[in-house]
């Protein structure tokens, strides 16, 4: 329960930061996706089920501050969290570069689903321009932040759920 008590204000704050601060830190038209990074980080920290709920809550906050249909980002983030959860228990799970690979897939999936939502609303969108100006720059920025986010998520997990030690 404490996870969600922390998650709601944290994700709300991240959504506000995404709208106010990150809109000024663009690479072409791409921005880092803080809530995506939080969801992926929490999932990689071994809290996949909670990460899916984080995806839903964070996605709804994003949708509140977006012209996209309410719920579309939530669906995309739940799917991303589910995809990340599939990596659990695989032999590469403990690899140092695991967060980068997962973030790459998660970021591309999130933006392609976002682009799908835009197209479904009947808006004009050039996929090749979207890829070069939004999706790839955003993915690059997400990759830059992937490792620190992953470390932060693991730190938060260890603080909230300290590993049991047998004496």
């Amino acid at each position: 329960m404490i996870v969600y008590l922390i998650a709601v204000p944290l994700l709300a704050l991240l959504a506000v930061i995404q709208s106010t601060i990150l809109s000024h830190l663009e690479l072409f038209e791409g921005r880092p996706d803080l809530i995506l990074l939080a969801v992926v980080g929490w999932s990689l920290a071994g809290r996949a089920e909670e990460a899916m709920v984080w995806g839903m809550i964070g996605g709804l906050f994003l949708d509140l501050l977006s012209g996209l249909p309410f719920g579309s980002s939530a669906i995309a983030l739940i799917l991303v969290a589910f995809l990340v959860s599939l990596s659990e228990g695989r032999f590469w799970e403990a690899h140092l570069l695991m967060p980068l690979g997962v973030t790459l897939v998660a970021s591309l999936t999130f933006h392609i689903l976002g682009m799908g939502a835009v197209l479904l609303t009947g808006r004009a969108l050039d996929p090749s321009l979207a890829l070069t100006r939004v999706i790839l720059p955003s993915t690059f920025l997400n990759l830059v932040l992937a490792l620190p986010t992953s470390q932060l998520a693991e730190g938060l997990r260890d603080r909230l759920f300290p590993p049991e030690v047998e004496i």
Binding site: V16, S19, M52, L65
Partner: protein, 277 residues
């Protein structure tokens, strides 16, 4: 195996829940709830946006950097509280400067009623070009109201909540503005491109369009009042085999640097299309 099944069940449940919210939202049933949640969010967003604007002003304005250095030298012995107060006053002065310019514009256009609002954020989706302002239906704003600065047209309100509203910029590919060219007295249609360029399309082939010519709203279509500056012609594309000529324009407004806008509250636009998100 059992764990992955339970994760799939959670994912499917959450997606169904989100889809339900999506349907409720599309039918308009969630608007009061969204307004309720946005009320505290807009407060936090305004607070952060003001500080971001102050920081950007300090970091990116050469004039301010120079004066800030002087002030730092002069105020070295002052306590931190006083330094913060100076930054705050500085931001207020910049805001007052903008408001004075907006007031001058409003005085020059007495036929319209204006209300000012702060820009508190941009659309979180990089695919949409819109901004959030810190006032909504509680202030008397409604969908379709045109939004301007002292430099020219910004866009129009497309979504309203009690304490905030979303403004679709004229650079959004979904926005269409009927315009006229000031010197050649010909009409055209503003056609924002997906790459961010602003084009004026449907210009009569016989019109002589010159570089630097001012582009204004024509008022046709009833979406915007007449004679609001939109931009200036950068270059013209004219081909003999085409029905119309096109022109690329430089917008009057710097859309990356808007802090305060004016909403024209006494203009009654024609109803927005249902397809507009």
């Amino acid at each position: 195996m059992r764990r992955s099944t339970s994760q799939a069940i959670i994912a499917v449940t959450l997606i169904l829940l989100a889809t339900g919210l999506l349907v409720l939202s599309l039918s308009g049933h969630l608007a009061p709830l969204q307004g309720l949640i946005l009320h505290p969010l807009s407060g936090v967003q305004s607070w952060i946006a003001l500080r971001v604007a102050a920081t950007r002003e300090l970091l990116f304005s050469p004039r301010d950097i120079a004066s800030l250095r002087e002030e730092i030298a002069r105020l070295e012995s002052e306590v931190t509280r006083l330094q913060q107060e100076i930054i705050s006053l500085r931001e207020q002065a910049a805001e007052a400067e903008i408001l004075a310019a907006l007031l001058d514009y409003a005085r020059a256009q007495p036929e319209s009623s204006y209300k000012a609002a702060n820009v508190i954020g941009q659309d979180v989706s990089p695919f949409l070009r819109s901004i959030w302002i810190n006032a909504g239906s509680d202030t008397g704003f409604s969908r379709g109201m045109p939004v301007i600065t002292q430099r020219g047209l910004v866009g129009r309100i497309v979504e309203v909540f009690p304490t905030m509203a979303r403004v679709q910029l004229i650079t959004d590919p979904e926005a269409s503005v009927n315009v006229k060219l000031q010197q050649s007295r010909t009409d055209g249609l503003l056609a924002p491109q997906l790459n961010g360029e602003l084009w004026v399309d449907l210009i009569d082939q016989t019109a002589t369009v010159s570089q630097g010519e001012l582009v204004l709203t024509s008022g046709l279509g009833g979406k915007y009042p007449t004679d609001i500056p939109v931009g200036q012609i950068l270059n013209v594309r004219r081909r003999d085999y085409e029905l119309f000529q096109q022109a690329v324009i430089q917008p009057s407004v710097d859309f990356d640097d808007i802090d305060i806008v004016l909403v024209i509250t006494n203009f009654h636009p024609l109803p927005l299309e249902h397809s507009a998100p």
